[in-house]
């Protein structure tokens, strides 16, 4: 049954689309071929005054050339004339008035200085941005999991499967490329997984054509064949083919699994609730972004001007366009949830969610350009002014940071779901609500842990690229001024893996027959503590490469024990942490599948463990951001633009720890308010038993 739509709504959408079209056309003009009398040039909303100025300048240039020819005949005459008249004073063209002599001074307020204000605003902005980029990724997958499999939804699932397969394929591919050394691993992973998913989803569209095994096989075979055709290599290597087979099979598996998953309304409700929070966080992202820019203009005016001017197309065209488009799509996504459900157009809503994600990811990729340009500006540096804007964006660390942030944002989103679940569990009185939010916490932890597993590999890839660009930065991070910062990172990662496992333990206690796994899990905990100890073990206990005055030079491991501090030991420890967590995760999954889960009866410790976990994750994320920023040493843009302000030195570990804690506290206070306003407050207005989720889809 189709619901009729009001003519008012139709005309509103048409007007909106027209406006968008005009706007886009105006912004497209810089990409169009230059023509003096182009129709499009009048649509670019450029000031006519500038256009006239240009023409005048051209004419002046011509006149000057002619003058030059003439003056060569009578040089003496012209010199005499010049001498009489003197040089023409053109300073009025650049004179900005009495403000020209103004000097910017270091600003200080309640212990906060230029740098700390910038640091604060930047990290707060990036935390909100991570939320609005990380959460929509699995919100759309959850929406799919919660949607009834109507024909429209099944069509949309083909697209969402491909989207998910691209993300998974890229992550597996890059891990294979860097850790195992598969040539063009990313491309093999991406194509095989995406095309495997596409073929299996399409074949399964009309009815269940293949079971899960056949789907994996078909995904693997077709994905591999197509990825081999699409990946530009001279010789096929076995490792590449194996990678393609694995990722193709994964693509086939997830496609089949998602396409025929039994729709669960809990997922729909969760996706809808998180979307409401995303809407508010979006405003905070814009707010903190503006704040960051204002602070930069006060604190680092010269630098921010240079940076923005280095990316004219990005900052004047691409970024605003993407941002506005994302804003439009995001609000459409949030506010069309109920109307599209009512009119049985769930599939369209899912597609809109994917478009939102694509725009969000594009924004992430775009802004990673200037971020990484500051870290690894393309060499040779004396040519930095002559290279194209695209070359500045596609610098050495760009793609590694994209991968790292993609996975990092996913983990962040997972743990934010944990926090939402935990808060709402604590704020709920009703049994059904508690059961539901207990389940939300379980799902959040599942997502967080699953995405956290490849995260160390992404970090490794990023730092490896930095080492290749300039080993000095790598050494500064790993064995010099930031070595103690990295030690704290090790402690944080160990804490997160441990706490995640403690949560699994606590929540398994509410599953019947789960105790059969407990002895093995306890053994896993012993391994976790051993691995965390090795990860934490440093080569030396002083904060610099060589002991400085007042440091104890004996705080160094002897040579025969130094291996404990080397990458081989750290990698083994990381491998152990990941493996034990993965094994516990399997135990947890088997327990939930084979025993009855008493949702709502979790040990009250559970929600606090989740909140601790979320806090540790966000603290770690801010900490790693700090490490990345400080690794440029006293450069805004490494070896291109020097920081000459009084705060150019690296802050101490203690000062950084305190600053990051303040930032994370601020974020959590804001998030608590946002969760309350977005989810809890509307419930207090209505009957609490009635879920605030979207109106269920109507029957077809």
């Amino acid at each position: 049954m189709k619901l009729s739509q009001s003519p008012l709504k139709n005309s509103f959408f048409k007007t909106l689309i027209c406006l968008l079209f005009v706007y886009l056309l105006g912004h497209l003009s810089p990409f169009l071929p230059v023509s003096p009398h182009s129709v499009f040039s009048n649509l670019s909303f450029q000031s006519l005054a500038y256009a006239e100025d240009d023409e005048e300048e051209d004419e002046e240039d011509e006149e000057e050339e002619e003058d030059g020819e003439e003056s060569s005949d009578g040089e003496e005459t012209s010199e005499a004339e010049d001498g009489e008249e003197g040089e023409e004073d053109l300073s009025y063209l650049t004179d900005i008035g009495p403000a020209a002599d103004h000097e910017f001074e270091e600003y200080s307020f309640m212990g906060f200085s230029n740098r700390k204000f910038t640091w604060f605003a930047a990290q707060l902005h990036i935390l909100f941005a991570s939320f609005i980029l990380g959460c929509p990724m699995f919100v759309v997958i959850m929406e799919v999991m919660g949607a009834r499999r109507t024909q429209g939804v099944r069509k949309a699932i083909i697209l969402s499967n491909v989207f998910l397969a691209i993300l998974i394929g890229v992550v597996i591919g890059i891990t294979g490329e860097v850790i195992v050394g598969v040539h063009h691993g990313v491309l093999y992973g991406l194509w095989a997984c995406a095309l495997g998913a596409l073929i299996v989803s399409t074949l399964n569209y009309f009815h269940l054509l293949m079971n899960i095994r056949v789907s994996a096989l078909v995904g693997a075979i077709f994905g591999t064949i197509l990825s081999m055709a699409l990946t530009p290599v001279e010789h096929y290597e076995t490792s590449g083919v194996i990678l393609a087979l694995v990722t193709g099979a994964v693509g086939g598996l997830i496609s089949n699994g998602i396409m025929f998953a039994k729709s669960d309304f809990k997922f729909e409700r969760l996706a809808h609730e998180i979307t409401k929070v995303i809407g508010i966080c979006y405003s905070f992202t814009a707010l903190t972004g503006g704040l960051f820019l204002f602070i930069m203009l006060v604190a680092y005016e010269d630098f921010i001007t240079y940076l923005i001017a280095s990316f004219p197309t990005l900052f004047m065209v691409a970024y605003p366009t993407l941002f506005i488009l994302e804003t439009v799509v995001m609000y459409l996504y949030v506010y069309s949830w109920d109307p599209l459900n009512k009119s049985n157009k769930k599939g369209r809503h899912i597609v809109m969610g994917i478009v939102l994600n694509v725009l969000g990811l594009s924004l992430l990729l775009a802004l990673d350009g200037p971020t990484t340009f500051m870290q690894t500006p393309p060499k040779p540096l004396d040519q930095i002014l002559n290279i194209s804007e695209w070359d500045r964006i596609a610098n050495m660390a760009w793609m590694p940071l994209n991968y790292h942030r993609l996975v990092g944002n996913g983990t962040f989103g997972g743990y934010m779901v944990c926090i939402i679940g935990a808060y709402m569990y604590l704020w709920s009185d009703k049994k059904e609500e508690r059961e539901y939010y207990d389940w939300v916490g379980y799902i959040g932890n599942l997502i967080g842990v699953a995405i956290m597993i490849p995260l160390p590999a992404m970090g490794y890839i990023f730092v490896r690229e930095i080492y290749q660009y300039d080993a000095t930065i790598g050494m500064y991070i790993m064995s010099d001024r930031e070595s103690m910062f990295m030690l704290v990172q090790g402690l944080l990662v160990g804490t997160m893996f441990s706490v995640s496992n403690i949560y699994m333990w606590v929540s398994m206690k509410r599953i019947e027959n789960a105790e059969r796994f407990f002895p093995a899990m306890k053994f896993g905990f012993i391994l976790i503590v051993c691995a965390a100890t090795i990860w934490f073990t440093p080569r030396r206990f002083f904060a610099t490469m060589l002991p400085e005055p007042s440091m104890n030079p004996d705080m160094v491991l002897p040579d025969n024990l130094a291996f404990l501090a080397l990458m081989v030991s750290k990698n083994t420890a990381a491998f152990c942490l990941v493996t034990v967590t993965f094994i516990n995760y399997i135990f947890y999954t088997i327990a939930t599948k084979t025993g009855k889960v008493h949702y709502g009866k979790i040990n009250p410790l559970g929600p606090y463990v989740l909140i601790f976990l979320g806090f540790a994750d966000i603290w770690l994320m801010s900490w790693m951001g700090t490490i990345r920023e400080l690794s440029r040493m006293n450069w805004h843009i490494y070896k291109v633009f020097k920081d000459v302000t009084p705060e150019k030195f690296a802050p101490s570990l203690a000062e950084s720890g305190m600053q990051v804690t303040q930032i994370v506290w601020t974020f959590f206070i804001l998030m608590t308010a946002i969760i309350w306003i977005g989810i809890k407050y509307p419930k207090t207005k209505k009957n609490e038993t009635k879920p605030t989720a979207a109106t269920p889809q109507v029957a077809e």
Binding site: A471, S479, V488, E515
Partner: protein, 419 residues
């Protein structure tokens, strides 16, 4: 589906074992198999319903165990020569484990009765997390930001008015600032063996051009023992862009001080090192010097007196074929009772560089580069200790301590006044 799980598990297990084998060999595989066996065994154990204990009951059983365990860890770490700070670290982690296991067996928390209950618990959670991170970051070793700022504010290096020792000191700073210590030790200083120890290798024996080339184009000639693919790529190639002419000059001046008058240069990577006494290429070059055909030591021929085949051509010239020869007593106040076969390295060096008074054995160290003199000495030993008959390499000497290095200058063991 069970068979799928078995296949996936098998593939994952084998991959893990392969990874452990590539890093730790058979020991890694053994450890991996042991962990798997323990897991398999523990999954077979018929588990009882977990007993939840109050905090007191928990600690009553676990605390004595952990105290004993901590004691064992402390003693064992000491036995393995871990410095005390690492002993503290390991014991601290044992207590972290104690905390974990106490938490795992802890009684279920009481349900919150009012908003205050969860609010207090919530704030306690945030306070706990924050205090851990604040305390850890405050207690770990720190550097002094004032010192950092002072370093950054220092003007760029200009050698125009600098004298020898100042240039060397400036070179030391260039060495530190460019993180050379990250890969290179200088005798006892530094703590990485990624690259050669520039002190025991005695990089200062080489001429300026060679040292410059090694800095600017490090892949042109790899140091012996560092020719594996990983080491070849290890030394960055951008120092030519990063260092100013003055900085490079100062750095080379500092590297030129890396000499040891008491030992033969040492080559190779930590764990597989050797001295020039046993270096085939060095001996071949030393032979050229000894026989007077090396272009870098034109005018020097040891063979003129000591004989090309070791048979002395002049009365009184030392016969290198006789391993029981004694040291000369012609140098007043400087005599060793040791036989030629047991001569320490510094005696060889001293006799060749400073000569023997009132004999044709001139102080060759005043005329020729010491690099080649060491090589000639290494060759001279082969007359009584041929390379092909040696069953083992001569032991690599221990790295000289700070005090030893300082004594070389005070005892004026170098001929160069700057050393």
């Amino acid at each position: 589906m069970k068979i799928d799980m078995i296949i996936i598990g098998l593939i994952a297990g084998l991959s893990g074992l392969y990874a452990l084998h590539s890093s730790f060999g058979v020991a890694g595989v053994g450890a991996g198999l042991a962990v798997m066996a323990i897991y398999a065994l523990l999954l077979k154990v018929k588990a009882k319903k977990p007993v939840e204990r109050s905090l007191f009951h928990n600690i009553r059983f676990k605390l004595p165990i952990i105290l004993v365990l901590a004691g064992i860890i402390w003693v064992m770490a000491g036995k393995f020569n871990f410095p005390v700070w690492w002993q503290i670290e390991f014991v601290s982690f044992a207590f972290v484990g104690f905390f974990f296991f106490t938490l795992l067996d802890l009684k279920t928390l009481k349900q919150e009765k009012s908003s205050w209950d969860w609010l207090i618990r919530l704030l306690a959670t945030y306070a706990l997390a924050s205090s851990i991170f604040i305390v850890v970051t405050a207690q770990l070793p720190q550097f002094d930001p004032e010192l950092e700022l002072a370093k950054l504010n220092r003007p760029p290096l200009k050698l125009a008015d600098a004298a020898g020792p100042e240039v060397i000191a400036a070179g030391r700073e260039v060495f530190e600032n460019n993180k050379c210590f990250n890969c290179h030790k200088v005798f006892w200083e530094g703590n990485s063996d990624r690259g050669p120890n520039l002190g025991t290798k005695q990089i200062g024996l080489y001429n300026n051009d060679y040292i410059k080339e090694q800095i600017l184009d490090p892949r042109k000639k790899q140091s012996p023992g560092f020719d594996d693919p990983k080491s070849i790529k290890a030394m960055p190639t951008y120092y030519g862009d990063d260092l100013s002419e003055d900085e490079l000059t100062a750095l080379v001046a500092y590297l030129k001080t890396m000499r040891d008058p008491t030992h033969m240069p040492v080559e190779g990577k930590y764990g597989d090192q050797w001295t020039w006494w046993d270096d085939k290429e060095v001996l071949a070059e030393g032979q050229q010097v000894f026989e007077g055909v090396h272009p870098a030591t034109e005018g020097l021929s040891c063979a003129v007196c000591h004989g090309k085949d070791g048979t002395p051509m002049m009365t009184g010239a030392l016969d290198f074929r006789d391993e029981n020869n004694k040291d000369t007593d012609k140098i007043e106040g400087d005599h060793s009772d040791k036989l030629l076969k047991d001569w320490p390295d510094d005696l060889w060096y001293r006799r060749v560089t400073r000569g023997v008074p009132n004999t044709p054995m001139a102080p060759w160290g005043m005329i020729f580069e010491h690099l080649y003199l060491w090589k000639a000495e290494a060759y001279a030993r082969t007359f009584h200790d041929p390379l092909d008959k040696r069953t083992a390499r001569r032991p690599v000497p221990p790295v000289p301590s700070k005090e030893e290095i300082e004594s070389w200058t005070t005892k004026e063991m170098f001929l160069d006044p700057l050393l």
